[in-house]
């Protein structure tokens, strides 16, 4: 391949793909076979991190940034005056294989602008994955974008070669979608997602009867929503997210703070800071739903439509539900331990193990790694020292903020001004 041409294309098409935040390379069970190249069965690996602190685990590129759509929030929209390029199928295959052999990446994440039609584009994406699997015996990770509107047959084929498929909803509300991407409709996003979901269920059933059933998208599906582009509330975002987790068995929903890329008056202007703190709070909420046993209604509801920026959502929940506390570390069940502010699931695991041998006191909790500056107001343990004052929520919040230093302090004062 010609080095200079590939170099130029790579620069353009990696730059255009970078707003997709998904970087995961985990969750697959594809092992190396016939002494081929690669293995995607282990947990994911971040091979490096960019200067914005994001994980680089896959070669994340667009096949092309030519696009027939004109979505306002998207950098490759038709009306944007930028350099356009397109990879040949073989070029993507060569790049992937050579990067993989040098241990730069876990695999390929291939997306694309939509040229000609949805099916025409999807066909090219599938062709790359097929070539990697069948001709190169490549067993690394492949993440393909499902193109909205692609036919069921193509989605079926895509899942046979890819580990993960994803469609980005991008805009959390239908109203927002109408405003920013008038040529797109929700149904087009849902269709390939529905098809993949059904195929995965089918695969799991058949697998039970016939062991040699070929794998179908073993790492499941994911999606992404842009945060802060269309004036949606945290509640709208998280309820949409919850809906997709529940109805499409998604592995992940990603939240991407909107990076201003256009002077379109419908959108935040260039120079507006990326809402990174808000993004972080959304991820924390997402984790509470998936790993900590919370229901979405407990965290966001009509009375609380947005997440606090100055404290994490679990602490926010605890302050609204002081009647559930204090919790006895030596007696409480796993569910309640997980609800104590300052305890992560690793601490919960360690506490459950350690308390089988002895009653735990403050020193034990500290060496286990519990964030006592938050937890101390909510727990009792094997010690006669504990918070005896009858503190109000506001008072506790004040004490915690006073005695802790957040990495977001600087950003917080900025963003509070913005939203306040």
């Amino acid at each position: 391949m010609s080095f200079e041409r590939v170099q130029e294309k790579l620069n353009i098409l990696a730059d255009a793909a970078k707003y997709d935040v998904s970087c995961s390379s985990s969750g697959s069970n594809r092992t190396n076979k016939n002494k081929g190249l690669g293995d995607a069965s282990a947990s994911g690996i971040c091979h490096t991190y960019t200067e914005d602190g994001r994980c680089v685990s896959l070669l994340k590129i667009l096949l092309t940034n030519h696009c027939i759509f004109d979505c306002a929030y998207c950098v490759t929209r038709k009306s944007n005056d930028i350099k356009r390029a397109a990879f040949k199928v073989q070029e993507v295959v060569d790049l992937t294989i050579n990067f993989y052999r040098r241990n730069y990446i876990e695999g390929l994440f291939l997306s694309s602008g939509i040229f000609k039609s949805a099916d025409y584009t999807m066909e090219r994406l599938v062709a790359v994955a097929k070539k990697l699997r069948l001709e190169e015996n490549f067993n690394g990770y492949i993440h393909l974008k499902s193109i909205p509107g692609a036919s069921d047959e193509l989605m079926r084929e895509a899942g046979l070669y890819a580990d993960r498929l994803s469609v980005n909803i991008e805009i959390p509300t239908e109203k927002g979608l109408k405003l920013l991407a008038p040529d797109k409709n929700r149904a087009d996003f849902i269709k390939p997602m529905e098809k993949v979901k059904n195929e995965i269920i089918l695969y799991k059933n058949e697998k039970k009867l016939i062991k040699s059933t070929p794998k179908y998208a073993p790492a499941g599906q994911s999606t992404q929503m842009i945060v802060g582009a269309s004036g949606e509330s945290d509640m709208q975002i998280m309820y949409t997210s919850n809906y997709f987790y529940k109805n499409f068995n998604l592995k992940r929903v990603y939240y991407s703070g909107y990076v201003p890329i256009s002077y379109d008056t419908r959108l935040p202007q260039i120079g507006t800071p990326v809402p990174m703190l808000r993004e972080n709070r959304l991820y924390q909420t997402d984790w509470l739903l998936r790993f900590y046993g919370f229901n979405i209604e407990e965290i966001l509801n009509e009375q609380n439509q947005s997440l606090d920026l100055d404290i994490d959502p679990k602490l926010g929940w605890a302050l609204r539900n002081l009647h559930e506390f204090p919790v006895d570390i030596n007696k409480a069940d796993k569910r309640m331990l997980a609800r104590i502010p300052g305890l992560g699931m690793k601490s919960v695991f360690k506490i459950l193990n350690a308390r089988r041998y002895r009653q735990l006191n403050w020193d034990h909790l500290k060496s286990i790694g519990v964030a006592l500056n938050r937890a101390q107001y909510f727990i009792v343990c094997a010690s006669n020292q504990f918070e005896r004052r009858d503190l109000t929520s506001e008072k506790i919040k004040g004490l915690i903020l006073q005695n802790s230093k957040s990495k977001y302090t600087a950003m917080l004062s900025n963003q509070l001004n913005l939203f306040g």
């Binding site: 790579l10 990696a14 707003y19 081929g36 190249l37 069965s41 052999r101 990076v259 350690a354």
Partner: protein, 254 residues
């Protein structure tokens, strides 16, 4: 009076020491790698010859007391080369053998907790090496990488790279500990290398490496730069994930 047992630095050597301590019913005992050994002012010392059979007996004894996951922690922690790791391990082993039930996950015990922390450090370094190894293609078609990990994790890497690169020859060399693992398409072996005095591990010399190697390094560097979002720049987080001491062998950070 304290007895110091001097061993050859291998894990089996350490386990042989544990066996000896039990056999001789030593009350006050410490174990030390022969490379770090200094004649003590007080107390006596004894050189222990590694015996596979004794080591196996200690290991088998531990195995009966805990799950294989918990057992693995003892080996991981040992590879940390921490100056007091022998004491931590020995104290944890005493505690395990003295208890009737499985106490290997009793994180309220200081030695068990310390052991789990060392394990975590070694596990993290292993994972980092799985991420940060950068192979360069040599003229004789071997994918070569040099590393200098904080802990002695090379023995833990074999499995991962064998499974992943089954169809290419590769060699990972630990510059700090002066040995490597080499896969020749059939098996993986420990090797030592005589590196040329002029060999600069952070450069890609055209005398050793294939011409195409520099092109792919350039593409990788370009990709690394293009995929960054400037308006989200966060160097603190970047350095937290990729600490500076690893930069010298990462082609994208050159």
């Amino acid at each position: 009076m304290e007895t110091t047992l001097v061993y050859d630095g291998t894990f089996d050597g350490f386990l042989t020491c544990v066996f000896t301590a039990y056999e001789m019913k030593l009350k006050a005992v410490s174990m030390v790698n022969e490379k770090l050994f200094q004649e003590p002012l007080f107390g006596t010392s004894e050189v222990i010859i590694t015996e596979q059979e004794k080591a196996n007996r200690v290991w088998a004894g531990l195995k009966k007391k805990m799950s294989s996951n918990e057992l693995r922690r003892f080996y991981y922690a040992f590879l940390s080369e921490n100056p007091t790791v022998e004491t931590t391990l020995y104290q944890a082993i005493l505690y395990v053998f003295a208890s009737t039930k499985n106490v290997a996950s009793d994180f309220g015990n200081v030695h068990i907790l310390e052991l789990s922390k060392l394990t975590k450090n070694v596990g993290r370094e292993k994972h980092r090496m799985e991420a940060f190894v950068r192979f360069k293609l040599t003229k004789d078609v071997i994918y070569f990488a040099n590393i200098a990990p904080d802990f002695n994790v090379l023995p833990l890497l074999k499995n991962h790279f064998e499974k992943r690169y089954a169809d290419q020859k590769w060699l990972i060399y630990d510059l700090k500990r002066k040995y490597g693992i080499y896969y020749d398409l059939q098996t993986t072996e420990l090797i030592s290398l005589e590196l040329d005095a002029n060999f600069d591990p952070s450069k890609t010399s055209s005398a050793i490496f294939a011409p195409i190697e520099l092109e792919f390094q350039q593409l990788w560097k370009d990709y690394f730069r293009s995929t960054n979002i400037k308006s989200r720049k966060n160097m603190k987080l970047h350095i937290q994930h990729v600490p500076k001491r690893y930069w010298k062998y990462l082609s994208e950070k050159q």
